[in-house]
Symmetry: C2
Subunit: 300 residues, 2 copies
């Protein structure tokens, strides 16, 4: 399976970065190939100061070796070796009318001390973080998520949509990071679903990523905005930073297992503000966003 | 002891906020009194957009009640009640030539289920986070720290200085948050040191806070700086955010024990930047700062 999935994410990284570069006449991805001392490595592509994209990273990695102690505890296994590969992206557009988007597609294999395969699964998803709520855009994004799911199983979308709302929850703020999308993990083969079926599903979601996001970007990237709207975007980006540094399991594992810091923290936006006790005005568009973040909605 | 220490920090908050207001003709502290549903409360004072101070908070609180489960585990005790009071401040000046400063002075009491006092201790310290390294300033700050300590015990400064370097260590970056100062915790009475001695020491350090910081502020607050130096300051502030959200025990306990979010996160700077893989030029002043953060120094 790793010989099938890793080439897939290599190719997906190419497709996504080419598409984004074609949409931004100023920005170009800077590529960095890195190696992990303990085994494996990755290809990081980061774009900064584009016309459309203020900062974005589309990274792939394939790492293997001894499972670090902290991850042994997390997975409740003894000494093991592992293989993990995945694509991870975060895009912070400049225009506050364009949402931030995040996606991740990953595959994991775990081996015992004798090198025998013990477990294998897929994980991933995609989610949207708007600064201003434009119903049509959120509905489009969720409809694409649902379409990818419904081709496989009618229970997938409601289940993975809820897992997404649950996962991207800023507990200390009592609000969602954004308007969600899909989140799935530990997608293992079952009696009726083969590992190949899991691959087909995850790659279907991956193939649909650009369809889910690019139309929104194209519709909104030239919208006019005020300095006040820009400030609101930077304040909300602060909540994004809070989630990623306090709650996000992927970020914290990366930091605790000696991952490549700059590849992990490329997810943080370029310009961020924290104002003390900032509250949007009652009835404002900003307050309308908060209301939806406090109470996740059904979009399709 | 709480009847002695809480009035002390109330008074110290007044002294510090009055002094800072007198140094900033634009900025004024906004005061907020808050109550903790489970018992106690606090008085938060935050100043934003001053001429000298870009953002700063000087907060006191006195809270009590059942010890939350997560803190029972942390302190390795069973069901208990507690009392805790303290002053906590973080000042982010506008001018990159003026360091950020943090200080905290706190007192803790722990009771068993029968309401009998089981344990009591002081904790706290102060530390400096410069954006440009001006030896004279760092030496002055550490000399003040040492003076407060030496009046009590010659072993205090070396011990609490080292604890400060160890505590404010950004493990994922392999560098210190700043140039340190003092950090102490669990200062309990011993056979030769009474609780009153502990009080005398902690309040001595508190009384010396303004002496340690204000002369630096006055010397540097009108220094000229370039937009590039401002950008560097905002990038370094990103490391401050990373430390507080990933590693700082006080912040994380606050967030996990239902503290008042806006009082806890007032420590975050107003404007922050993250650039991908930013490296200062060899031989630059920025590189000189990093060298010292990677390898904590003896200053006095």
């Amino acid at each position: 399976m790793k010989e099938q999935f890793f080439p897939y994410i290599q190719n997906l990284q190419d497709q996504i970065t080419q598409k984004f570069e074609s949409l931004d006449h100023l920005g170009q991805f800077k590529e960095e190939n890195w190696e992990r001392p303990e085994g494996g490595g990755g290809r990081t592509r980061v774009l900064e100061k584009g016309a459309v994209f203020e900062k974005g990273g589309v990274n792939i990695s394939a790492v293997h070796g001894e499972l670090p102690k902290s991850m042994q505890d997390y997975f409740k296994v003894g000494e093991s070796t592992f293989y993990a590969c995945g694509l991870s992206l975060v895009i912070h557009p400049k225009n506050p009318m364009v949402p931030t988007v995040h996606a991740n597609f990953r595959y994991f294999e775990m081996y015992n001390k004798q090198g025998e395969l013990q477990d294998q699964w897929f994980g991933g998803g995609l989610d949207l973080t708007p600064y201003y709520l434009i119903q049509e855009d959120v509905q489009h994004f969720h409809q694409c998520c649902k379409n990818s799911c419904d081709a496989f199983d009618a229970s997938f979308y409601p289940s993975f949509k809820k897992q997404c709302d649950d996962y991207f929850w800023n507990t200390h703020r009592n609000e969602a990071r954004g308007v969600g999308g899909l989140f799935f993990d530990y997608l293992k083969p079952t009696e009726t679903i083969s590992l190949q079926d899991r691959y087909d599903f995850v790659t279907k979601v991956g193939d649909n990523f650009l369809n889910a996001y690019v139309p929104i970007l194209q519709r909104r990237k030239n919208y006019r905005y005020t300095p006040q709207q820009r400030t609101w975007q930077e304040i909300r980006r602060g909540r994004y930073v809070e989630f990623n540094l306090i709650h996000d399991k992927g970020t914290l594992f990366g930091l605790k297992t000696n991952g490549r810091i700059e590849s992990i923290l490329m997810s943080l936006p370029s310009h961020v503000q924290w104002k003390y006790d900032f509250q949007p005005e009652n009835g404002s568009e900003e307050a309308a966003l908060i209301a939806v973040l406090e109470q996740p909605q059904e979009w399709v």
